[in-house]
Amino acid sequence: MSELTLETTLPGIRVQRAPRKVRLGPLLAVSFLGFLILAALLPQLFAHSDPLAIVPHDAFHPPGWAHWFGTDQSGRDIFSRVIHGTRQSLFIGLAATALAMSIAIVLGLLGGLGGAYLDRGVNWSLEILFAFPSLILALLFVAIFGSGIGPLIVATGLGGAPGYARMVRGQVLAVRNAGYIESAKALGHPPLRIITRQLLPNAMRPLIVTLTMGVGQAIVWASALSFLGLGARPPAPEWGTMLSMGRDFIANAWWLTFFPGLFIVLTTLSTTVAGRYLQQRLEGRLS
């Protein structure tokens, strides 16, 4: 055996890692998100009554054993409506975020890889979009194309796209100059393979966290648009619409607005906490 250190171990001092403790916040957040997903897929698991069934003599029932969250002005069970509304809210949030991200990837890649002129063009259009508050943009879109779930998703997605696009562009610019991209080129990989297998995955990695939080944000926006009467139409069980409907009775029947509002708050809170947790985990692993 040689006298020199034939390196088989890691250099430096190995720091002992403390046993991982499960923290309460992220655990609650993830559990709540899991519950929401389950409720979206199988609402009948939790809510047994029809969210649309009108029972006039049951109107304005306060929360109690028969109706956990009470009933609304038409005697519809609010718990059932909130649970059934999960599907729509989650779907809108996810679809809008996915749309925003798709637009952002296209714009970001164009800007990041397309050369100076294209990059300037992309930057200008992003700046113009940034000049308007996103909600105003979304309002404008809904005003032109009419209300409903489809336009709602597109409007929310468009509102979020410029922010993501800028992040993607920055990431693409950083990653394209990385040594491993040059090395892939020197190996002889064609450009499309480099973009799909190395550039995009590496550029998107830090955005996973932003996306998680973005879903919560999109749900708030979609609810806001619905609240303004531009999204889902009553009596459809949608959280924003329910808030809007309950507003008229807020003085006498607080539960009409409280529970849908609570779910909106809890959902955003959960995505944020879960996103932060994910961020810490990823950063810990990367450094």
Partner: protein, 570 residues
């Protein structure tokens, strides 16, 4: 002058119950220099840091005696340490670029040391800063004091850092790898500055893995390994007649001090009986009058590569040596087809490979032959996709070589064994590997496609001497067994001398001299080559002593970071 002794007896350092330094003892007298020598992880830096009370959070420092100038350092409070640092003991950190505040002019940095310790008043302090910069050989000190670290070259930054350590004329200066990563001529200048500290009668504690540097300065040498002293004694004795096999192995690992073809590491390899391919071997790659201009940050255009021509023949090594900014890496990038030259042409096997105008070659065409020319970088880690394991990195290269998915696992283990890594490493991520292991993975990737040529861009510059020796030996073995041709780029003349058949000396983008390796090193023709060779520190008993070249006002026009100008077009 100081009459202070640094006395260390039975120093031990622990981190979280893990011992990193054990029973270290030495005495450093005024006017003397002690060198701590060892590889990364040997505990030399943490030892130095413990002497100024900065061993780090969670470090447990114990010693029978730890005193400087009669003052006990063991029970010193944080306040006491602060009084001592800078004033009694000056510390020169390893990496001048990260150790200096990027937003602060270097003069302010030095001023702060003076101010903290209440030295003089406003006017005398400003005068003192200029005086200090002058003392460490910074030309135009008044101008330089107002510049920020990024406006200074590596050598000037290192000198500014030394100036701040010397600000209060401490009796003891600790320098942690003060010349690592510096060019030969700059290194020689820094060594001269350090020698002056010694000449003034102050003590110097130098930490280095470079034995040749140690030989220039040290009176006493202490060789550390895994936190233990393996050998300790006067410099001449330790370096000329090493008693411990580890010291001998470290000395053997220094390239450029031995006959070519000698193995540098004790690792066994192939003993070749075949003669090396001669000067009449087939020409693989030919570069003809290459030129490249860049527009620098000051809008001035600079000729980074100017009229560079060479031939690379099968199975042989062409070394390109030059200091930072000499354009050697730009040449490599042109040859790799990653950068379009402004003038000249590169041909590969008599086919056009890169050029301008009518000679321009489409990347699509080049891609067909890319597997024949591989590359190894100085920093292998950044050339690996951070998401991939070693196995995935190699599989990606095998895709290019057209190896079917089913055969890839077998080929991956074969590649790993070729670079002498265990096959289990395939599932690990590069981040979990040591520097030497990472470079081996990079070499495995480079040979994955059965190339004819490997471009080696400073492949061992970031490695410890002994690891460098192993990697150089590995490259030599692969050259023999696979018949590879190397274009070997380095700023280290010792390494170049060890590996090359022919050498190209570059300066300011031009080829200053080109000759076969013996001729160039024995009878250098050009004045610059002679000066470069003179600046190389040598081990005692290995020829002439270091001749410090005259201090030349640095041509800052050339001191810009080439890498900042590169944009990769995919």
């Amino acid at each position: 002058m100081s009459d202070k002794h640094l006395i260390v007896e039975d120093l031990s350092i622990e981190f979280a119950g893990q011992s990193v330094v054990r029973n270290l003892s030495f005495t450093l007298a005024p006017g003397k220099t002690l060198a701590l020598v060892g590889e990364s992880g040997s505990g030399k830096s943490v030892t130095a840091r413990s002497l100024i009370g900065l061993a780090g959070a969670g470090a447990k420092v114990t010693a029978r005696t730890l005193s400087y100038g009669g003052q006990d350092l063991l029970g010193l409070s944080e306040r006491g340490w602060r009084g001592l640092r800078g004033k009694g003991i000056g510390f020169v950190l390893q990496d001048a670029l990260v150790s200096l505040d990027p937003l602060r002019p270097v003069g302010k940095e030095i001023l702060e040391v003076l101010k903290t310790h209440g030295w003089g008043d406003r006017h005398t302090r400003a005068e003192r800063v200029v005086e200090l910069l002058e003392k460490v050989g910074v030309p135009e000190p008044r101008l330089r004091a107002r510049q920020r670290p990024d406006q200074l070259s590596g050598g000037l930054r290192q000198r500014a850092l030394i100036a701040s350590a010397l600000a209060l004329s401490p009796g003891l200066v600790i320098a942690d790898e003060p010349t690592t990563a510096l060019d030969a001529t700059v290194q020689a200048q820094i060594l001269e500055v350090l020698q002056e500290i010694k000449a003034r009668g102050d003590s110097l504690l130098i930490i280095s893995h470079d034995l040749a540097v140690v030989a220039q300065l040290a009176d006493e040498v202490l060789v550390l390994r895994h936190g233990e002293v393996v050998e300790q004694g006067p410099m001449e004795q330790v370096l000329r007649k090493p008693r411990h096999p580890y010291t001998r192995a470290l000395l053997d690992a220094v390239p450029g001090e031995h006959v070519r073809g000698t193995r540098l590491s004790p690792e066994r390899g192939i003993v070749s009986t075949q003669p090396r391919p001669g000067r009449d071997a087939q020409v693989l790659l030919q570069a003809d009058r290459l030129g490249k201009r860049y527009v620098g940050p000051d809008q001035q255009s600079r000729q980074v590569v100017d009229d560079v021509s060479f031939e690379l023949r099968a199975g042989r090594t062409l070394g390109i040596v030059g200091e930072s900014g000499s354009g050697k890496t730009t040449v490599a990038r042109i040859v790799l087809g990653l950068l379009q030259p402004d003038a000249g042409q590169v041909t590969f096997l008599d086919q056009p490979w890169a050029g301008v105008g009518n000679d321009q070659v489409e990347e699509k065409q080049r891609r067909l032959y890319r597997r024949d020319i591989s590359v190894i970088y100085q920093d292998p880690l950044s050339s690996f996709d951070p998401r991939w394991s070693v196995g995935q990195i190699l599989a990606d290269a095998l895709d290019v070589a057209g190896i079917a998915l089913a055969q890839q696992p077998a080929r991956i283990s074969q590649l790993l064994s070729q670079v002498r890594l265990p096959a289990q490493l395939a599932s690990r991520r590069p981040l979990q590997l040591s520097g030497g292991q990472r470079q081996r993975v990079a070499i495995a990737r480079a040979i994955a496609s059965d190339p004819k040529i490997i471009i080696c861009d400073e492949p061992v510059s970031a490695l410890d001497v002994s690891v460098q020796a192993q990697v150089l030996d590995l490259l030599a073995d692969l050259q023999t067994s696979l018949g590879l041709a190397y274009l070997f780029i380095s700023h280290d003349l010792g390494v170049i001398r060890h590996v090359s058949d022919e050498v190209l000396v570059m300066r300011h983008g031009k080829v200053v001299e080109s000759a076969d390796v013996e001729t160039l090193f024995e009878r250098p023709q050009h004045e610059y080559t002679r000066r470069l060779l003179g600046a190389v520190p040598r081990l005692p008993g290995a020829g002439t002593k270091l001749v410090v070249p005259p201090l030349e006002a640095e041509n800052t026009a050339w001191l810009f970071d080439e890498s900042r100008l590169w944009k990769i077009a995919i």
